[in-house]
């Protein structure tokens, strides 16, 4: 055990600095992932076979690849075809398309869980397909999938730790840097774990609260 309080306390400011990057990356990936997920789920909901196949193929692929592989594939692969992007951009793209695939699955299940009578009623009132989705199906589906979406946000936040391999100064990277300089593992990593916990626990609590809410409303 090489825990030392002063090292732990001294490391906190730079860890918090790294945490800002982690949160910013996760937030950006969450927003784009949500946009991708909702869009692909809607394409799937058109029931137009080529779109359905395309969406199913893509989400299956992205859910099967480890994020680390996608990340490195883009980081080293894109430059070789002449696309030069910053590490942060690559990280956001990799996380957004991976999360987007999971969000697609979640949204698709949510949309399919809405009673067919709702769509019939919307249609019978003269709504177009787009209107029935926007006004009737999606608002209900969103409510239903909020708990799994928060779960996905937790996974995403934790997965951001992977971006430290492409030299982004995130929370984990801040910890490993301190470890190298101070030749001490335990103190900075206790800090790293603590900061991750502080970030994820509110989401875990939110998830539990939403699950309860769904149970309440089903009673």
């Amino acid at each position: 055990m090489d825990f030392e309080w002063h090292l732990f306390v001294d490391s906190l400011p730079s860890l918090l600095h790294g945490a800002r990057t982690t949160v910013a990356l996760a937030a950006a990936a969450a927003v784009f992932g949500l946009i991708i997920g909702v869009s692909l789920a809607l394409l799937h909901a058109t029931a137009f076979p080529p779109l359905v196949w395309l969406v199913t193929g893509w989400t299956t692929l992205m859910r099967s690849l480890p994020l680390l592989v996608t990340l490195l594939f883009l980081y080293y692969g894109l430059p070789s075809i002449g696309i030069l992007l910053s590490a942060v951009t690559v990280a956001i793209i990799a996380m957004a398309i991976t999360t987007g695939a999971f969000v697609t699955e979640i949204m698709r299940a949510g949309i399919e869980s809405i009673d067919r009578g709702q769509i019939r009623a919307a249609k019978s009132l003269g709504m177009s397909w787009v209107q029935s989705m926007r006004l009737v199906v999606l608002p209900q589906a969103f409510r239903r999938v909020l708990p799994p979406l928060t779960n996905e946000a937790i996974t995403l936040l934790k997965n951001t730790a992977l971006v430290s391999v492409i030299a982004i100064p995130d929370l984990l990277r801040a910890g490993t840097d301190i470890m190298t300089w101070k030749a001490n593992t335990f103190s900075p990593f206790a800090g790293v774990a603590l900061v991750y916990l502080c970030l994820t626990l509110p989401l875990v609590a939110l998830n539990a609260y939403l699950e309860q809410g769904i149970k309440r409303s089903q009673r």
Partner: protein, 257 residues
């Protein structure tokens, strides 16, 4: 304005190998109330769904207020599918009330009623709200404007559903067993609203198990069995002296119960 808003000719529809409608002919006059009765599975719901284009049919013809539903005629004499856009327009002019109410659970009663007039017809918001309130008074639910569907009884939900359909100012209303999902003591309040609507001259096609309602309100009763119209006529004739044995048997069972 035609005098025969609904014209159905030789309508056929199957689900796979199951022939559900087998040559239906039916005309509904403006202001007429037609009650459709018949055993379970005879195709009554399917017929209503075809009339407002919720279901596609295989052959035959439906004309609603001079517009083809589902399939139209090409100038050359062939058949052409009516575009989805045209069908959407058409549905705006036909109101439908479902057995399961199908109110939108995430909207208040008022929003349920105003959403289509505002979003689909582009009606001005205050106008739509004003009309929605008038419709709510008409169905006896003025005090429930801000409630959510889950806070209402089945009978109240169905009355809201009727108001929601009426808010589109439809030229005809289709009712698919509007009272079948209700507790017996709530049936009367919904039938009352429907009766009132009939008195006001609304063109109505009512699929129902309520023989009493059909007798009192219908201008004509249509008896369907196994996808065909077996017999039709004024309530008195059909209910008291049916000529077809299938009609007689059905009535004995429903009235005897």
């Amino acid at each position: 304005m035609t005098d025969t808003p609904i014209k159905i000719r030789n309508l056929y529809k199957s689900y796979g190998s199951n022939e559900v409608l087998r040559g239906i002919d039916l005309d509904v006059q403006r202001g007429e109330v037609v009650c459709v009765i018949g055993p379970s599975g005879s195709g009554k719901s399917t017929l209503l769904h075809c009339i407002n284009g919720l279901e596609a049919f295989d052959s035959g013809e439906i004309v609603f207020c001079s517009e083809y539903v589902g399939w139209g005629r090409e100038s050359g004499g062939g058949r052409a599918r009516v575009s989805e856009r045209a069908m959407t327009k058409l549905r705006q002019r036909i109101g439908m009330v479902f057995q399961q109410f199908n109110l939108f659970p995430h909207m208040t009663v008022l929003d349920n009623i105003t959403v289509a007039p505002i979003q689909v017809l582009g009606e001005e918001r205050n106008n739509a709200i004003e009309r929605a309130r008038a419709l709510l008074s008409k169905v006896g639910l003025a005090h429930k404007a801000d409630a959510f569907p889950s806070q209402l009884s089945g009978g109240q939900q169905q009355r809201v559903a009727i108001a929601r359909a009426l808010a589109m100012q439809p030229e005809a209303m289709l009712f698919d067993e509007a009272t079948s999902a209700l507790d017996p003591e709530l049936v009367g309040e919904v039938l009352g609203v429907m009766r009132h609507l009939a008195d006001e001259g609304m063109t109505m096609v009512v699929v129902t198990h309520e023989i009493g309602f059909a007798r009192d309100v219908a201008d004509r009763i249509v008896f369907m069995d196994q996808g065909v119209v077996v017999e039709q006529g004024p309530p008195n004739d059909i209910l008291t002296m049916p000529t077809n044995p299938r009609t007689r048997e059905f009535l004995t069972r429903s009235l005897g119960a």
